[in-house]
Amino acid sequence: MMKKVNIGILGVQGDVEEHVASIKSAFHEITIDGIVSVIKYPEEIDSINGLIIPGGESTSIGKLSNVSDFHSSIKKKITQGMPVLGTCAGLIFLSNQIVQNSSNTSQKLLGSLDIETERNAFGRQHESFQSEFPIPKFGLDKFTGVFIRAPRIRSIGSNVEILAKLNDEIVAVKQGNIIGTCFHPELSNTVIFHKYLIELVRETL
């Protein structure tokens, strides 16, 4: 019997419940019987076969997710091939480099994704925006991206695939089993990124 898809949402801070709801809708749309759970503790990572790191404050998520050396077990699972989706703060947390601003406190990163990010680089909440752009990989002409104090991707490694661009800006990337977005797919009216994560998980089972 095939193993069930079991997606964990890193639940220490941020819009965790929105990802849970998106994954449930995605299971429903592709009619599979999967499991979604909120994970906050290292012992919970063994049971999952896919992970989402939500939006929130990347400094808080980085700090709170490292209780009992949780970072190294997350990183190990990603290195072993577990599919992961990082949105906004989750993208920053996955990245291996961050542009240092004078106001930044030292920030913990997983470093699994070979990109350089810059926090809040589109501006403060006043400049938060929603915009439509195509996602050729998913055959979509128009996807509404929701960018809230969003990070910018400043550079990408040679093994990183570009999934979406807004004008000249790279706003979604993929590197093997890792997907990262500058925007919040969990706040859009389609769950296409969540379905894609589930598809990647199914390939590993």
Partner: protein, 317 residues
């Protein structure tokens, strides 16, 4: 995934300064901003040093005030929005979101705050109200607002006026969590009642409740459908220890505000970090216990009991 019930006027949003295909200030962006703060702690600060301590401790945002609520109580007089210089200094010194308070109904203070670049405005009963008959019509702003409530009627009226986030009023500056608990319980009980009638599809009863609460039928029905407020709801007013924060999370809050509790203690950095830990891991006994051990009860603010002559929670309608 975010409730979008409300007067959706496209004129309220703006085009983004560098991108013609983008919109800013929409209901989704305003409410969505508050959703990113969930499970987190927002800390009151009065200077750059306190803001940096808050960020270091893992706060999801800071709230800039001229005086902490307990100082407002002690000094008396009129409490107004913080000075522009201190707000700008804090904005430039931390990378987490910065909020500031304006007086209830003080549209001009709100406009000034929107211009200063803060990420959210708190229309707060901690400051002296400017208007006794009306709160701010918050749909006129592209900056999101948070408002206080002590019952469901107040919460839904503020959401009707455009608040993107709610918090309990509690009783600020007392170090006493009892009022925040009272307000959270009152809101939860009324939501449970509405959910019951929504599930029965008893629309006449939902309509009766909307008249009783002085709010719209749509908002009452939406609350019944969701089984919670249509916007993020934090606890505030009197939270002082990690155990207080965990208690409020157990009652179903989405996160907590801590005001005087941190910087009126004599162990602010440890206490701030401990409250952040207890808020996230409120459901795990040993982490809350560990957080509580990080603080010293002898260093907690002394606080005020329940014989108060003056209650900030009675401000606002």
């Amino acid at each position: 995934m975010i409730s979008l019930v409300g007067p959706q006027n496209p004129l309220l949003s703006r085009k983004h300064s560098d991108n013609l295909n983008s919109q800013t200030g929409t209901i989704l962006l305003k409410r969505g901003f508050a959703h990113m703060l969930k499970h987190g702690v927002i800390m009151d600060v009065t200077d750059v040093n306190q803001a940096q301590i808050a960020e270091e401790a893992g706060a999801v945002a800071v709230m800039v005030l001229d005086k902490l609520p307990v100082e407002v109580r002690q000094s008396g007089g009129v409490a107004r929005t913080a000075g522009m210089k201190i707000i700008k200094d804090v904005v430039n010194s931390v990378s987490i979101p910065v909020m500031a308070k304006c007086r209830i109904g003080h549209i001009s203070e709100a406009i000034i705050l929107e211009n200063s670049g803060v990420d959210m405005i708190d229309e707060s009963e901690v400051l002296t109200p400017a208007d006794e008959s009306s709160h701010i019509w918050k749909w006129d702003f592209t900056t999101p607002f948070v408002d206080g409530a002590k019952d469901l009627g107040q919460a839904l009226r503020r959401i009707e006026e455009g608040a993107s986030m709610m918090r309990t009023k509690g009783e600020p500056g007392t170090g006493n969590v009892v009022e925040a608990v009272r307000h959270m319980r009152a809101i939860n009980q009324d939501i449970a009642k509405i959910s019951y009638f929504y599930q029965k599809q008893d629309k006449q009863e939902l309509f009766r409740i909307s008249k009783e609460l002085n709010t719209s039928y749509e908002l009452v029905a939406e609350t019944g459908r969701l089984g919670k407020l249509p916007v993020v709801n934090f606890a505030a007013g009197g939270i002082t220890t990690p155990a207080d924060a965990a208690l409020m999370m157990k009652l179903g809050c989405d996160g907590v505000f801590v005001g005087s509790g941190i910087y009126k203690s004599s162990d602010p950095l440890e206490r701030a970090s401990a409250i952040v830990l207890a808020t996230t891991f409120y459901d795990k006994v040993d982490v809350v216990a560990e957080a509580q051990e990080m603080i010293d009860e002898k260093k907690s603010m002394v606080g005020l009991g329940d014989n108060l002559d003056f209650k900030m929670q009675d401000r606002g309608i």
